[in-house]
Symmetry: C2
Subunit: 358 residues, 2 copies
Amino acid sequence: MTLAGNVHVIIMAGGVGTRLWPISRRSRPKQFQPLLSDRSMLVDTYERVLPLTTPDRIWLVTGTEFVALAHQQLRDVPERNLLGEPVGRDTAPAVARAVAVIARHEPGTFVLATPADSFIGDPAAYRDYVAAAMQVATNGAIVTLGVTPTRPDTGYGYIQRGERIEGHPAAYRVRHFTEKPDLETARRYLSAGGYYWNMGQFVFRARQFMARCAVHLPEVARAMETLAQYDQPTAEALQAAYEPLSAISFDYGIAEKEANMAVIPTALDWSDIGSWRAVKDIAARHGALPPSSGNHIRVGGENCLLLTSSGRLVVTVGADGYVIVDMGDALLVVREDKAEDVKEAVEEIERRGKGEWL
Amino acid sequence: MTLAGNVHVIIMAGGVGTRLWPISRRSRPKQFQPLLSDRSMLVDTYERVLPLTTPDRIWLVTGTEFVALAHQQLRDVPERNLLGEPVGRDTAPAVARAVAVIARHEPGTFVLATPADSFIGDPAAYRDYVAAAMQVATNGAIVTLGVTPTRPDTGYGYIQRGERIEGHPAAYRVRHFTEKPDLETARRYLSAGGYYWNMGQFVFRARQFMARCAVHLPEVARAMETLAQYDQPTAEALQAAYEPLSAISFDYGIAEKEANMAVIPTALDWSDIGSWRAVKDIAARHGALPPSSGNHIRVGGENCLLLTSSGRLVVTVGADGYVIVDMGDALLVVREDKAEDVKEAVEEIERRGKGEWL
């Protein structure tokens, strides 16, 4: 934990959260919304990492249109740390954007890159794993945290471990990243052991990351190093940097290509808060019902999650395995095993010319 | 149809419609609400019977607190025809109340008593059956209409026919009334034939009815004949007449005891609009969606009925076999095969001290 004071943290908050409509809206994506507590996911993420560092070492990368919103929610973070992207190009450019700035001033520092939309049941244990990851990253590795799977989940990517890393009994080389597997494959991973859910958390040293980025994604590295020369890049400079880039994730663009990748297996209670099913699962595991879900009467069908911001009385009769999201202007009733299809519903809303509800 | 001009019609509108919450409310029960058309069930019933008679021969029996509401909806019916009950004592006293008034002035007239909450698919055919029932009632019988069952429904009462009535080829003596049967019994009725759903529609002559009522329910007949002496009974007189009576339905109190009962089988498309399941079934058969149900997007699960008065966008994903009722202050999500349990939900609302939503 002695290294922790120096770490910079990059919060990746560029997602749009389509599958969490109608709480997630175009003008206010999911990470800026309270969902499992009375704070937004972004603030939950900030509070989770804050004990590792100081507010001026916390960075946010999000759409330019959300920088003001982020500033409202993260008052202690200097405005210069809130990095707006004119267009989303996925997580590899987002991370590179912030690391390029950090590396100009503190090239040797450790960096943690974390999504803004993760649920982590035990933040203190998480911080201990991050500290362990920094030790492994000392010599230049990119280190990721993995969660020991408890079920054959087909909604997550998996990391297969290789051999143990000398001097770091809790860390392994990464043998392979796999995308969301089918059920049979996921079952095989679970019974074989040595596979971990990919949390999307990465720890590395700033200068080493930029060096590896220059190898794997040279256009990205160049564009972000150019931007990092400005204190406040102009809209034109931002556009010129981002527009030509292809969208590419940290996993595809960096992690899968990098030879010096390590994974630290964890027993964290973790979820990607990507769908209403995930929200319901977390609420069920933790009794963590949102604060505004009180005015609900159920008859039969206990297995039903209600989120409401309307204050209306909501009565469910025999509704089992559903999530109901009751907002002022919109209502969603979704069967939990169809939670991915909310994306289709959002597309249909668009097609029908009801964009004002998005 | 030559007899029709003289008929008096009593619309029984004393129900509370608990199972149709949240459209049915204490201050505005279901029969006063639009549900399957843009008119209330009461107005639908009034329009259905109006071609049989004239507005001054149409009577309504309802709670005293709803007389003003009924007057707003039935502007052509004289106020003296809107009979308020200080307490509900079920349908036998309600019918007797109106017949006692009618009989004072036109003892020989035919009377049709009809619930305010029936759906009847073909009103013209219905009126023809009523005209036929009047012919059968000429000699003093109480005549009811039965619906030839198309499925072993356990939600309706059944009427077993006896022998054919001479001179009336379409009418039978009633052998037996049965309450809602279990599924096995309902199946037996269906395969045996000669059983009909009890629509709760009764046709008789006024004086004969009062005579039979005096035999079967003497307290009811006395109380209502006393009230009928007043042009406008005082609240005290009403209370004195109703308070001592036991609640008893027309079926139990009159029809099941009466020897001279006849039934006319019909092929009417009829439903008792008693539950959300019934509403959904009718909507499915007739494509009769309520006028305000437009702002609904479905993904998967086509078998889902939405009623909304809020104008909100409602999205259902994978919701199959559900009714969703979306009001300004309350939302109900009910699985259709649990529609009867809305009653329990209403009791729970009461227990939790949320009576303002009832």
